[in-house]
């Protein structure tokens, strides 16, 4: 199997991706979608059309030529929004609903945790927290948190 992709990507005036497949058909408004956004973000990326139908499949992002990969990564990064919590700065109360002030990889923010059930354990060390607007926050490595954050978090686990 060749490592070269059998499709091409470009960007239209609206900033959307346009896909041209090997047989020459052109698809506007294409979005890349990760199959395992948390468990394995670099493997398995589908290019889907506006209706959500799969047009192309990238088994491994690294295997793509740099320009293609860049384009896909750019598009992903403009849409993907799962801030990773680096530290819990403060919580308003230990009973829900509780306002959490957190430091994420995207800056400091405050969100409201509606109930403890919104903290889901993806693996023994990874938590996915959804706020009152269903925005997801990822806590990738529980043991790596500082002591204070862990202590605060512990009250909710």
């Amino acid at each position: 199997m060749s490592s070269a992709a059998d499709f091409r990507l470009s960007r239209n005036a609206y900033g959307r991706l346009v896909l041209t497949t090997a047989d020459g058909s052109v698809h506007e408004n294409v979005s890349p979608v990760r199959a395992f956004p948390i468990a394995d973000p670099l493997q398995g990326i589908a290019l889907v059309d506006a209706e959500g139908h799969e047009l192309a499949w990238v088994a491994q992002l690294d295997s793509l030529p740099t320009d293609l990969r860049k384009m896909i990564e750019e598009d992903l990064s403009s849409r993907e929004f799962v801030p990773e919590i680096e530290a819990l700065l403060d919580v308003s109360s230990f009973t829900t609903p509780s306002d959490w002030q957190v430091r994420t990889d995207r800056g400091v923010t405050t969100f409201t945790l509606k109930s403890e059930d919104d903290i889901r354990r993806l693996s023994p060390t990874t938590l996915l927290i959804s706020d009152s607007h269903s925005l997801h926050y990822l806590l990738r490595d529980l043991p790596a948190l500082d002591k204070r954050s862990r202590k605060l978090l512990d009250r909710f686990l």
Partner: protein, 734 residues
């Protein structure tokens, strides 16, 4: 056309031209790289301005400019476009969504040249959710349930006071018994028998009094606490049933069962036992202290010395125990969750031979529970013996100080005896008091979890002033209905008018929003946008139960409750007569097979209707819907899970059901919808085609494709009907 304005201060107000007036401003919470940072937008009658933190950028308004907003996975994008391209894009989290919507609407107004409205900041215009009252000590909130019993509670308290006082009499009597009888006798005086009998009588009387009072007190308070527990359980369950399906979707059965079952029981035990004991203890300590001080202040002071140390210890352990118990509760819920997951799914577990894995999962949850308990017990086990040790020290101090005082003739032997008798009781109470720490924390965490349910406001709220419809005709109108589930938009801008008595067939592949439409019409969820009207009245203005009474629902998987067949048919109308039940069963073509069962209508059906075939269960659920004689009927894939022969039987029953009612039917098999007046084809949460079979066939659109596919192959999904099946190019790792 884009130019920067010389304004360096990052998020200040934009500088406006002399004749320019500000129409609206908007604050967003993300920047271009999706970092949390404020972005400001402003709309004037001439321009649209934006500031991403590095000065204002402006676009003069022109007719071809348009604002689009869209969202994906919790992030919204507001785009400014002209006829040919995207000019700018701003990002925000969904919390800003209402403001963005308002801003975009204002922008459209400004585009059409509507006269300038007063300057308004949209950030403040859309009311923020006010955070409801939070915090507060959970246990105090139980007062709401204790209030109705306050008379009995007061009586119980007075009895406690009296009973405690009575138990304190005997040690007091030992003092004169010692000093006036025994010591003088040792010194050679004869025993005054009258005095002895008086004191002994006093001792007996006090004990009997304490016994009677204690019995009464315990009985009354236990009665009250049982009632509080009952009220708590029923109120919680009632509230739980009132919550929307959205709530149940996010909860696990085992957890909810544990909360209503065992946790209310724990609160109950706390109120009837632990709290009662604690109150008695406190009273006893206070009274004892008063008595001791009245006898001898110095000795009293020495005796009470260990008290602050114990209090400090209790405080020290409190935090640790509380968090520990909260954790144990959650772990315990996890254990029940494993059970609640596995037992209903036992067929799948067995079919895939995963018994061992499930057993290991349970084992793991159990181990986790054990580990948590072990950890907590380390602290807890040290705590109680330490209290005992301290009491022993306390006794030692009193002995030593007392003997020294006697040697100096400061106090009598009787006083020391009385003191020792008092503090014997006193310290045992302290020991038991220390148990209140854990009991309180346990009860507090239980209370918190109960109030978590009680505080949850249904997302399908009851209107305070419901409108009552005298007669329901069954006309349904959907006006620009949109629905969002979590951060996913499920349906958008659906408008449809259904005449009374009309039958509508909803068609589309799975995920196209058909079931959502049904859930919205049943008001299991409320619309996020637009409105749903019944006979011209917004259904949010009707009382929920009132509204649902007019709806008959037949689901793909009929649910039969444990009980007789008659009970199940009469579920929606418990006071139905036998004749009505039979009539409904006849109409549903269920009468004959029911009679074939050994106990007829009295046959018991199991939790999931075991012993009946799918078609039979379905016909019972049709009879159930028929019995309440609803104006609106909803058939959600009513015949999807049965074979074609059974379908024919059910279909005959359904035809009876549909007559004269507004019907909304979802079906995979288009043949089921042959009687529908109109077919509504849905795709991606939008209505794509409406019309009857012939019209839609003539149109050769989505319905045509679907029909063609089904004509070739019986069970085909719209999803599989793609005009050109493309091969998907793959990129493999070399």
């Amino acid at each position: 056309m884009v130019y920067r304005m010389n304004n360096n201060s990052s998020l200040s107000e934009p500088t406006l031209a002399p004749q320019e007036s500000l129409l609206a401003t908007l604050e967003l919470d993300l920047d271009a790289r999706l970092q949390f940072a404020p972005t400001r937008l402003a709309l004037t009658d001439q321009r649209l301005l934006a500031n991403l933190g590095e000065g204002w950028q402006a676009w003069p308004l022109s007719p071809e400019l348009a604002l689009h907003h869209d969202d994906h996975a919790g992030v919204g994008a507001l785009e400014l476009r002209d006829a040919a391209s995207r000019l700018a894009c701003w990002r925000y989290t969904l919390g800003c969504e209402p403001r963005v919507r308002a801003f975009a609407a204002r922008f459209d107004l400004a585009q059409t040249g509507t006269p300038a409205a007063p300057i308004e900041d949209i950030s403040t215009e859309v009311a923020e959710e006010t955070p409801e009252e939070r915090g507060g000590w959970a246990l105090l909130r139980l007062w709401r349930f204790a209030r109705p019993y306050r008379g009995q509670l007061l009586l119980g308290f007075l009895l406690t006071l009296a009973a405690t006082a009575a138990t304190l009499v005997p040690p007091y009597l030992t003092m004169p018994l010692m000093d006036k009888v025994l010591i003088p006798f040792q010194n050679g005086q004869p025993i005054d028998w009258l005095l002895v009998w008086t004191y002994l009588g006093g001792l007996l009387g006090a004990s009997l009094l304490a016994w009677v009072l204690g019995w009464l007190r315990t009985y009354i308070l236990a009665r009250v606490s049982e009632r509080i527990g009952r009220d708590l359980r029923t109120t919680t369950y009632k509230h739980l049933l009132g919550l929307s399906l959205e709530y149940f979707g996010g909860k696990r059965t085992g957890d909810l069962m544990a909360r209503i079952g065992s946790e209310t029981d724990r609160i109950n035990v706390f109120l009837s036992l632990d709290l009662l004991n604690f109150a008695t203890d406190v009273l006893m300590i206070v009274m004892t202290a008063v008595i001791l001080f009245s006898i001898n202040p110095w000795l009293a002071l020495i005796t009470l010395l260990p008290l602050p140390i114990i209090a400090w210890m209790i405080h020290l352990v409190r935090e640790k125990l509380r968090t520990g118990f909260e954790k144990i509760d959650r772990v315990w819920a996890e254990v029940t969750n494993v059970l609640a997951d596995t037992i209903p799914g036992i067929r799948v577990v067995k079919a895939f031979a995963q018994e061992r894995r499930e057993s290991e999962r349970f084992h793991a949850a159990n181990e986790h529970n054990l580990a948590m308990n072990d950890k907590l017990n380390k602290t807890w086990s040290l705590f109680a013996p330490s209290v005992t040790l301290l009491t022993e020290f306390g006794l030692l101090i009193v002995w030593a100080y007392g003997i020294w005082q006697i040697s100096k003739n400061e106090i009598t032997v009787g006083v020391l005896t009385a003191f020792l008798a008092y503090i014997g009781r006193f310290y045992t109470r302290l020991d038991s008091m220390s148990r209140i720490v854990s009991a309180t924390q346990r009860a507090a965490s239980s209370t918190k979890r109960i109030f978590d349910i009680l505080d949850h406001v249904s997302s399908v709220p009851e209107t305070p002033n419901p409108v009552t419809l005298k007669e329901v005709r069954g006309g349904i109108e959907l006006r620009h209905v949109g629905f969002r589930y979590g951060n996913r938009t499920v349906t958008r801008d659906v408008s449809l008018t259904i005449a009374p008595g009309e039958m509508i067939g909803l068609v589309g592949h799975s995920g196209s929003g058909k079931s959502t439409m049904v859930n919205l019409i049943c008001r299991f969820y409320d619309v996020s946008e637009g409105a749903l009207l019944l006979d011209g009245v917004d259904i949010r203005q009707l009382a929920v139960a009132d509204y649902r009474r007019h709806i008959g629902l037949v689901l793909q998987e009929p649910f039969l409750f444990f009980g007789t067949i008659a009970d199940n048919i009469a579920y929606g109308k418990p006071d139905a007569t036998r004749a009505e039940i039979i009539a409904a069963a006849r109409a549903a073509h269920a009468h004959e097979f029911i009679l074939r069962l050994p106990h007829g209508y009295d046959s018991l059906v199991g939790e999931r209707g075991q012993g009946l075939s799918g078609g039979e269960r379905q016909r019972i659920s049709i009879a159930r819907a028929l019995l309440i004689d609803p104006r609106i009927l909803i058939l959600d894939e009513a015949t999807s899970s049965v074979d074609t022969t059974t379908e024919r039987e059910i279909q005959a029953a359904l035809d009876n059901l549909v007559q004269g009612r507004t019907t909304i039917a979802i079906a995979h098999r288009l043949s089921t919808l042959r009687k529908a007046d109109r077919l509504v084809v849905m795709d991606k949460g939008e209505v794509v085609e409406v019309g009857n079979h012939d019209e839609l066939m003539a149109k050769e659109g989505a319905y045509y494709a679907l029909y063609q596919a089904q004509a070739r192959n019986v069970d085909t999904d719209l999803d599989d009907v793609r005009p050109n099946t493309r091969s998907i190019p793959h990129v493999q790792r070399s």
